[in-house]
């Protein structure tokens, strides 16, 4: 589903500020990234997050909620 966008006014954006999401430098891309992970069924979500965080040298990482089992 693609939404129609309507214009209210015209304005430019300063290319020196911020980044298009697909051209963020890697240092920023990794800090604002999401991954759709095929979680192995053994370890808990919490453990998986901890491993990924350590291996990718991230300060924080979160997961999309517990499996409501």
């Amino acid at each position: 589903m693609k939404r129609e966008t309507v214009a209210k006014t015209e304005a430019d954006t300063d290319e020196a500020l911020g980044h298009n999401p697909y051209s963020r430098p890697m240092s920023l891309h990794i800090r604002f990234g999401i991954v759709n992970l095929d979680k192995p069924s053994g370890p808990s979500s919490h453990e998986v997050v901890a491993w990924v965080k350590r291996m990718l040298e991230l300060k924080h990482a979160g997961h999309g909620g517990t499996l409501d089992a």
Binding site: L17, A61, G64
Partner: protein, 250 residues
């Protein structure tokens, strides 16, 4: 599958915790049961159900009302029933299985569960293994390029594909990053289908997520009006200072 979000994107995933989930579940019946009786019992569980969270639960164990959007049997093999369920957040599938066992009178338990969708994250989109992820990261680290990593780790903006967006002026961005609400003059363009009180996303003109918000006007009203508050900022995603502050300081 498990959606993961890194650092600045972690707030994005929180926004989807309350969205619907879809699972494929394998249920084990404790006695043989006629197939038609199983199908009849399943039919009772579609729609609104009352559910008390199981003994080992992460929430208070009071009876809650939950909506089951769909419940479809995929396969019945003796005492094993494979089914697909689409449900409201906070529905315990383990409990659906044991309650189905009660209704059938034979008892049943959940033996396997796999989430196939959580909000906008589903199994068909960029699903990767832990191995793929770490490999891609290592390849980038040793100078083999970043394309592999970028194909797996996606910009957080992709999580909002189905949510209506309002695009705002550069000059409005930093005020929003500091928690201000969005006034109509800050709007440059917007999606059709913005409705009063609906969850929306405020975006920069470079299509970066600035904040999650609640619309206070519809698309039509925002286009027609020349003043007033268009949306209330709910959760800021972009770090303040990404764009310069341009509002008047007193």
């Amino acid at each position: 599958m498990l959606p993961l979000a890194f650092e600045g994107a972690t707030k994005v995933v929180q926004a989807f915790l309350l969205s619907g989930k879809e699972y494929v579940c394998l249920m084990q019946l404790h006695e043989d049961m006629a197939e038609q009786r199983i199908r009849d019992a399943f039919a009772e569980f579609a729609g609104e159900i009352f559910q008390r969270p199981p003994l080992r639960a992460s929430v208070k164990r009071t009876v809650r009302r939950r909506t089951i959007y769909s419940l479809d049997i995929l396969e019945i093999d003796g005492r094993r029933v494979l089914f697909k369920v689409s449900c409201q957040a906070g529905t315990y599938v383990r409990k659906i299985c044991s309650d189905l066992g009660e209704v059938l009178g034979c008892g049943a338990h959940m033996s396997e569960l796999r989430r196939t969708r959580a909000g906008p994250f589903d199994e068909d989109r960029n699903l990767c293994s832990m191995y793929d992820l770490l490999n891609a990261y290592d390849h980038w680290k040793i100078g083999k390029g970043e394309e592999e990593f970028r194909a797996i780790v996606r910009p957080m903006e992709e999580a909002f594909e189905f949510i209506p967006k309002i695009y705002i002026r550069d000059s409005a961005v930093d005020a929003i990053c500091h928690g201000a609400d969005l006034a109509v003059p800050g709007v440059v363009k917007l999606d059709q289908g913005v409705a009063t009180n609906a969850s929306i996303v405020l975006m920069s003109l470079k299509a970066e997520v600035v904040a999650l918000a609640k619309a206070l006007m519809s698309t039509e009203q925002i286009v027609e009006q020349d003043h007033g508050i268009a949306a209330k900022t709910v959760r800021v995603i972009m770090p303040p200072g990404t764009y310069p502050p341009l509002w008047k300081k007193t």
